[in-house]
């Protein structure tokens, strides 16, 4: 018996795991061994079969072939219930906590047996005793919706331990955390594996996490196991080669030297706007973006970046302040955007920048369908011109689509993003506003999209890049701002940027 949870870590092994969906083989003969009490990383690109594999282990899918051993014994896992009976649990990438319930309510209701009437006095007492043994300290009486992402992630893990799980799958657990929070959570989890309380299988695609925390690693590519072994025996290059094989990766343009005297394209002064709760407001005192530079805005989601973007996109009214593009006031009307060459790539492009059921060709032509080649409004829309224009862009930006007449919603995430980039980056671009452009995309799509953004910068566009991915900001930006609690709280040129300091400002510790 261990000190922390009273559970004992179990080891899990898959043998010849195969999963077919119709003619498509998502997983082909994958055998991995997760030792009891180890921290095992599972690497792979989107669609490599990582989640298929863990869903088979958790009983969500029934594998076409293959066996699962728990502590060396063959077991049948027909449902998530069977998996939890064996002590296997999973922390999902999207939180499965119920936002409007408190932490305590979430824990109690997720238990197998809940009494009809809940005796909160007794439950609170039990929870306090349980939390005393946890390495995390959490407020349990606050609505989950009000917790920070890091606290939610900890609560998810605590919930699994509360339910008596001793084998945990963590699905990209740090994707929503600040670097500091990620360090803390993974460190605590690793301490529990070291103590023999827990076995962890972590899905990830961040090499630095894998090398810093994991004992073992397995790599999947296109449904096959391409490598496995001790982390200490592998370097990043070897792991990357296992992950992406020999496909070419778009290289970033080398950064053209920024000119400090370049024209300030976007100027935001004393901007004030209500946030989505209506209770607080965002305030941008002074922000300028020069031609030929990328200004990155870091921050944990929910600190006003989305509202700021919406103001710039004309989707949210502002209470005060001004937004100037090349010296003239900008209110994001279609005419202004066209005259000043302002382009916008919001996050979740399918939702925010496309009409999902309209065709790829129509979506690509949104900026240009109503003007002719001289920029004059047309009275008749030419289907032929739309088709020719979009065919050229689809070709140029390598959008993979069945046809130009397919609804854009039928494309994969990476191809929707390519189509939107094609639309926004074609023609003169003086100001480009981008938000989380690579969220949820795979390796090669990410590389290509970042390369396109860098190319636009080098061509003289002013780029405002909002991202929750700090690595992306560090790779692309010339200057980084941190947004916290609705305001820009910190600015640093890229040469002096430190992940540590940025993380502290993101967490609001200053």
């Amino acid at each position: 018996m261990s000190a922390i949870t009273g559970n004992k870590a179990v080891g899990v092994e898959t043998i010849g795991m195969t999963m077919r969906f119709g003619a498509f083989t998502a997983l082909a003969d994958v055998s991995i061994k997760v030792r009891a009490g180890s921290f095992h990383a599972l690497l792979g690109e989107n669609g490599a079969g990582k989640s298929t594999l863990v869903k088979c282990m958790m009983g969500f899918y029934h594998p076409t072939a293959g066996d699962i051993l728990v502590d060396g014994r063959e077991v049948a896992i027909a449902s998530p219930r069977d998996a939890s009976a064996l002590g296997l649990g999973m922390v999902y990438q999207h939180f499965t906590l119920v936002p409007s319930l408190t932490g305590a309510e979430n824990l109690v209701i997720s238990r197998e047996k809940v009494p009809g009437v809940i005796d909160w006095r007794k439950e609170r007492g039990d929870l306090a005793v349980f939390m005393d043994r946890m390495p995390f300290k959490l407020p349990l009486d606050v609505m989950v919706a009000e917790l920070a992402a890091g606290e939610k992630q900890k609560l998810e893990i605590v919930k699994q331990l509360y339910l008596g799980r001793s084998f945990l799958v963590l699905d990209e657990p740090t994707s929503v955390l600040t670097p500091g929070e990620a360090q803390e959570v993974l460190g605590l989890v690793r301490a529990m594996t070291r103590a023999g309380d827990l076995t962890v299988l972590m899905i990830s695609h961040k090499f630095h996490e894998v090398t810093a925390f994991a004992d073992d690693v397995s790599v999947l590519r296109k449904g096959r196991l391409t490598g496995t072994g001790r982390v200490v025996d592998l370097d990043r290059k070897a792991m990357a080669a296992m992950m992406i094989g020999d496909q070419p990766i778009a290289a970033l343009d080398s950064r053209a030297e920024p000119r400090p005297d370049a024209e300030i394209v976007l100027k935001v002064k004393a901007l004030k706007a209500p946030d989505r709760t209506g209770l607080k407001s965002i305030r941008i005192e002074d922000l300028g973006v020069r031609s030929g530079e990328i200004v990155g805005i870091a921050g944990i989601s929910g600190n006003g970046q989305k509202e700021f973007l919406e103001v710039l996109a004309g989707q949210r009214p502002r209470d005060a302040g001004e937004v100037m593009v090349r010296g003239s006031a900008y209110a994001a009307t279609r005419a202004e955007a066209r005259a000043l060459n302002v382009r916008l790539i919001p996050e979740e492009p399918l939702k925010n920048a496309c009409a999902p059921k309209m065709t790829v060709a129509e979506n690509i032509s949104f900026r240009t369908f109503d003007i002719d080649s001289n920029g004059k409004p047309v009275s008749w829309i030419s289907a032929g011109a739309i088709k020719a224009f979009s065919a050229r862009l689809v070709e140029q930006f390598k959008v993979k689509t069945a046809s130009l007449a397919s609804p854009i919603a039928s494309l994969s995430g990476g191809n929707v993003q390519r189509a939107v980039l094609a639309r926004e980056l074609t023609g003169e671009v003086d100001l480009l506003i981008v938000s989380n452009p690579c969220f949820g995309l795979d390796f090669s799509a990410v590389a290509e999209i970042r390369a396109r953004i860098m190319k636009a910068r080098n061509a003289g566009a002013a780029v405002l890049l909002m991202s929750e991915d700090l690595d992306e900001l560090l790779e692309l930006s010339d200057r980084i701002f941190v947004m916290s609690d609705g305001a820009l709280v910190y600015e640093t040129p890229i040469a002096q940027a430190s992940v540590q300091t940025i993380g502290e400002h993101m967490a609001g510790h200053h």
Binding site: T96, S100, L101, V117, I118, T277
Partner: protein, 308 residues
Amino acid sequence: MDATDIGLWGVPLAILGGAIRVSTPFIFVSLGEAITERSGRINLGLEGTLVFGAMTAYAVAVMTNSPWPGLLAAAAAGLCFGLFHGWICKFSKVNDIAIGIALMLFGSGLAFFFGKPFIKPKAPNLPAIPFGAWSDIPQVQAALDVNVLFLIGAALSLVLWWAFRNTRAGLIVRVVGDSSDAARAMGLNPNRVRLLATGVGGALAGIGGAYLSLYYPGSWTERISSGQGLMAVALVIFARWNPLGCFAAALLFGGAGALGPALQSVGVTQGYYLFYAAPYILTLVIMIATSSPTRSLAGAPGELSITK
């Protein structure tokens, strides 16, 4: 008994009495809708359920010569309507709002069809408790004549408020309403929970209907509801899905509904028709005042199709 002239005091008194008398169907329908919406579905069909409940209660009360079997029959009919809504909505690509509108028309139509023979006969009424017996003034007596269903409704809103926090069933309904994914991860079946929640919501709306035909106004006509079921749905949003809020909002709406008749009774002869529209205007004003293009609705269940 002679009507004592109490002058303009009659207006607040009538509003108080009206609030108690008129609010009861609002209380039941909105509590039912609160349960349904907390589980993540909207049932606009409660207007139809209300009318059908009113008809059923009246018909059964006439046939058995007692209001109680009528009340039970109305609840049972409401339950069936609710379960039907819940069952259809479990299929994919079915929109709960469209089904609700269909059921609203269906319920009213069916009630008119079966209800024709019962427009004439007189049914026994639900009992009321004369809390105003201490007073000599008939207006006070009338205002404080409180029907048992009002008291049950008040108690029910307290019980529901407690149950949403302190019982397994209450927490499960909230979980399902806020996040289907979380519910599935816990091994709950969201469709079954919503089916039952819609069923219970329907039964409560049926009881609301029984109150209409068996107490106030106390007879079965085809115009008996005049949109109260729909207003109750708006009221749930205004009350932020809180059962106690539903009760308070129902009183407010009931009081507004009594404004027109009260003014008429004190001799206002002009424009009182405008005050008959008070509940409808109140609905509009409240919806406008509590919504905003830049704010998301606080407290709304995450799975509700209007907030998604």
